[in-house]
């Protein structure tokens, strides 16, 4: 396993280096930030002073060398917008997104395992049809619409939940409900498909012939084997959420990394953008390694392949 982890980590270094360089180059292509930070009638002298103060008057290669040196020292510089440490801003924002993504995926995976298995137990039955239709709808609803309608119904009309914010227990419900809808819909369909296939396989027939009850067949035999494809899809969905649930963070005032990244792009705040992208990229690589470890734990063939 350690060999497997080491190999997996080493293979992540090159993509990470590409991300580090890519975000620097792409950010510079979006234009000079001076116009956004100086008054509209700023003089040429003020523009030059701004460029000098922020190192933007240096050749791009020199800026890149400074940036790479900073990355190695984990120093991303200061935010143009707030004057705070860019690395600190990214690290402060990331846990809030991770919490949101973690809760969302926990609920989506557990819910999809139950509902998907239930639907698959009698293919084309009433439960299957209802679940399939509902999950299709859930997978198709835009999250901003769900968020606004949720606020309107549960916060404004009924007054049961807060509209937004970060204090109190109720604040988790609407953001997570908004985020969970799509992953849940997608995962229900994946679990259902995998379970239909698993339930018709020879080892399940053998288990039935040995007298195993339905619960045992689903939980001990079929679900375990159906978990691999669900894990793949859940991994992709989690990566998407860790990358920033921008819409939800924006609407609910959630201080996460997705909103931080979007604001940094719009404000051409290069230092914060670079720090936020790197923090997210590292998290995604770690997440991918965890997913691979889960694969290995679930499937002996993967472990065997990793050894060779």
């Amino acid at each position: 396993m350690i060999t497997f982890l080491r190999r997996r980590t080493l293979s992540s270094v090159i993509p990470l280096a590409v991300v580090v360089l890519g975000v620097f180059c792409l950010a510079r292509l979006t234009g000079n930030p001076a116009s956004l930070y100086l008054p509209l009638n700023a003089t040429e002298q003020m523009r030059q002073d701004f460029a000098e103060r922020n190192g933007l008057d240096q050749p791009v290669l020199s800026q890149m060398a400074d940036y790479l040196g900073g990355v190695l020292r984990l120093d991303f510089g200061e935010s143009l917008r707030t004057g705070q440490s860019a690395g600190r801003m990214a690290l402060d924002a990331f846990p809030a997104t991770l919490q949101l993504a973690g809760f969302t995926m926990l609920i989506a995976v557990l819910g999809a395992a139950v509902v998907g298995s239930w639907a698959a137990f009698k293919p084309n039955g009433l439960a299957d049809r209802v679940c399939s239709t509902m999950s299709m709808i859930a997978a198709s609803v835009p999250d901003f619409w769900f968020a606004i309608v949720g606020i309107w119904i549960f916060a404004v009309t009924l007054g049961w939940l807060p509209t937004s914010g970060v204090t109190g227990h109720g604040i988790w419900i609407l953001p997570i409900a908004t985020l969970v809808v799509r992953p849940f819909g997608v995962l229900v369909q994946v679990v259902r498909g995998a379970m239909v296939s698993a339930l018709s396989s020879p080892y399940v027939k053998l288990a039935r012939s040995k007298g195993a009850d339905d619960y045992r067949i689903v939980t001990h035999h079929a679900l375990r084997n159906a978990a691999a494809p669900a894990l793949t899809v859940a991994g992709d969905l989690t990566v998407g959420l860790v990358n920033g649930a921008v819409v939800v963070e924006t609407i609910f005032g959630w201080p996460g990394i997705g909103k931080l990244m979007i604001d940094s792009i719009l404000q051409r705040d290069f230092a914060v953008l670079q720090a936020a992208v790197l923090v997210t990229a590292v998290a995604i690589f770690v997440l991918n390694i965890l997913i691979d470890v889960c694969y290995a734990l679930l499937d002996a063939r993967v472990r065997q392949a990793a050894k060779t």
Binding site: T30, G31, P33, S35, L36, L38, P39, L40, N41, A42, T43, Q45, M46, D49, F50, R53, R81, T82, G83, Q84, M89, D92, A93, P95, A96, L98, Q99, G102, F103, L106, I148, I151, W152, A155, V156, G159, P162, T163, S164, G165, V166, T167, H169, I171, W172, T250, I251, F252, G253, W254, P255, K259, L266, R268, L290, V293, C294, L297
Partner: protein, 531 residues
């Protein structure tokens, strides 16, 4: 003999198998436990230190202030919190009458063409306990205008030339400009006063001032709380503390007021759902198309006039702005010195617009050449729909319009010198806000031939503008009125659309009358409990 050895091997394999299963379960359990620890805390990361707002005032803004640096207070997101709340200027402008009134300075007079003398108020203390005097005022002006800090207020209000500032004694300050400046006191009303202990090497994020509130706690990304300044020299404000939150979505800001999570929500659109809680107010913003005059077909004055005739301003205000606005005929709104009440908006006359385009075409002007109309996302509510309507109306007049919606940074490349090269003829959708209260702040930028945001102009017109800027009082008003009329006739750089109005949502618990400065300078002392 083989039987015992086989069973030993079987037992060993079973043990290995059990060990592997146990190890796998342990690993899964460890992963699950780590995951649970990660996500199971009940508070959002980094939010546990938040205090409640108690019985104070709750305000929701569209965005978090990037900084509370006083010399950046001409930035809307900073100024709305800082100005006249945490820090104060020497002189305050009344947004309703436009008159200047004493604040940290009790009186001022012009002592020569270029010099003004100010008298400082006595008995004022900063929030850190130090006494305010003329040295602090001189230091604040030097810091904002003459230093290398790159303050926003410097470029926004003052020109390239530095000011000569001197604290003559504890109570007397003189400020001298290189050229005669009749509106220097108005310009200085944008400089917030800080104590001499404030640094000049770097901007400060959390300043000390003389205002009625001081910074209580700022949990970056989450909330900002201001507490009543117990040393305040004036009348104590009504609320013990004020909590600011920020939500980017107007519908959410409105919902926070209707569901009693906030008392005041700023910068709402007419369709954000504030309902009965919404109060509309002038915001000194004017929307217009700015037309380039160097390339055909927009270099022909008849085509620029046709653009003005083609726009149905009344229809746009009624249907797209929900009636919140007034068709505009000039870039300077009423309430700002220099506004010309005799200028009426161009009438909507599509036949005339078509005739003008046809006449230009007959004279060889390539009226079919594509004109790029550039709009900006989130410039004002329903901006995309407005841009599409403008495109359609100009197309009906016989022009070839291509619409391009961009973000703020890309829009600034079209808006500010040096303009995007080889962009061809451009009709830029702009929204200009004159918050300073004097037409000079509009005209110098938008109408001089080398103005930062001007794409047309003549040397003769530059001279007219320069002369108007030297005048004061009624003569100044008259001069700007005339030049705004001349702009529409001789130059026609703009096709004005509307003088806009904003919406503020107010809880029934508060009493406040929003004004043209509300979005830039929300004076907390003006907000009181209802009843």
């Amino acid at each position: 003999m083989s039987q015992p050895s086989q069973s030993r091997a079987t037992r060993r394999n079973r043990m290995i198998g059990r060990f592997r299963v146990a190890r796998r379960r342990t690993a899964v359990a460890a992963l699950a436990a780590g995951f649970a620890v990660l996500v199971s805390s009940c508070t959002v990361a980094n939010s546990d230190s938040l205090g409640g707002s108690g019985s104070g005032l709750r305000i929701v803004l569209p965005e978090e202030p990037p900084t509370l640096e006083p010399c950046e207070s001409s930035l809307t997101s900073t100024g709305v919190v800082v100005r006249s709340n945490i820090t104060q200027p020497l002189i305050e402008r009344d947004p309703k009458s436009g008159d200047l009134s004493p604040l940290l300075s009790t009186g001022w007079k012009r002592t020569s063409d270029t010099r003004w003398t100010f008298t400082m108020r006595e008995g004022v203390r900063f929030q850190d306990g130090t006494a305010f005097n003329a040295r602090d005022a001189a230091y604040s002006i030097e810091r904002a205008v003459n230093s290398d800090l790159g303050c926003n207020v410097d470029g926004y209000v003052f020109g390239e030339d530095p000011l000569d500032v001197e604290a003559v004694d504890e109570r007397t300050l003189t400020v001298e400009s290189k050229e005669p400046d009749p509106i220097l006191p108005l310009r200085l009303s944008f400089v917030e006063i800080v104590p001499t202990s404030t640094g000049t090497a770097k901007k400060v994020r959390q300043p000390v001032g003389t205002g009625p509130y001081e910074i209580g706690r700022w949990d970056t990304g989450l909330k900002l709380r201001l507490d009543r300044n117990k040393r305040y020299w004036g009348k104590a404000p009504s609320y013990e503390n004020v909590t600011y939150q920020w939500r980017a979505e107007g519908t959410v800001r409105a919902a926070m007021v209707t569901s009693d999570e906030a008392d005041v929500a700023l910068k709402l659109g007419p369709l954000d759902g504030a309902g009965d809680r919404g109060v509309n107010h002038p915001n000194n913003e004017t929307t217009a198309l700015r037309l380039t005059g160097e390339e055909p077909p927009l270099d022909d004055p008849r085509v620029r006039q046709a653009v003005n005739y083609a726009l149905d301003k009344r229809g746009i205000v009624k249907s797209l702005f929900s009636g919140l606005g007034k068709p505009a005929g000039q870039l300077v709104p009423s309430g700002v010195l220099g506004h010309n009440p005799s200028i009426k908006p161009w009438p909507h006359d599509l036949k005339k617009a078509r005739a003008l385009v046809k006449a230009a075409k007959a004279d060889g002007v390539p009226t079919g050449k594509q004109i790029l109309m550039v709009g900006r996302h989130e410039l004002f509510p329903r901006v995309s729909e407005t841009a599409e309507v403008l495109q359609e109306q100009l197309t009906q007049a016989g022009l070839n319009i291509k619409l391009k919606m961009v973000d703020e940074s890309a829009h600034l490349e079209y808006q500010l010198r040096p303009f995007v090269p080889d962009a061809g003829p451009v009709a830029l959708l702009i929204q200009h806000g004159n918050q300073a209260g004097d037409a000079a702040f509009t005209v110098d930028q938008y109408m001089t031939s080398k103005g930062a945001q001007s794409v047309m102009g003549t040397k003769g017109f530059d001279k007219v503008i320069e002369e108007a800027g030297r005048k004061s009082g009624k003569q100044r008003q008259k001069a700007y009125e005339e030049l705004l009329k001349q702009q529409n006739g001789d130059i026609t750089q703009f096709a004005h659309i509307a003088h806009m109005r904003g919406v503020v949502a107010l809880s029934p618990n508060v009493s406040y009358r929003p004004n043209s400065a509300t979005n830039d300078e929300l004076r907390l002392a003006d907000i009181r409990p209802a009843g």
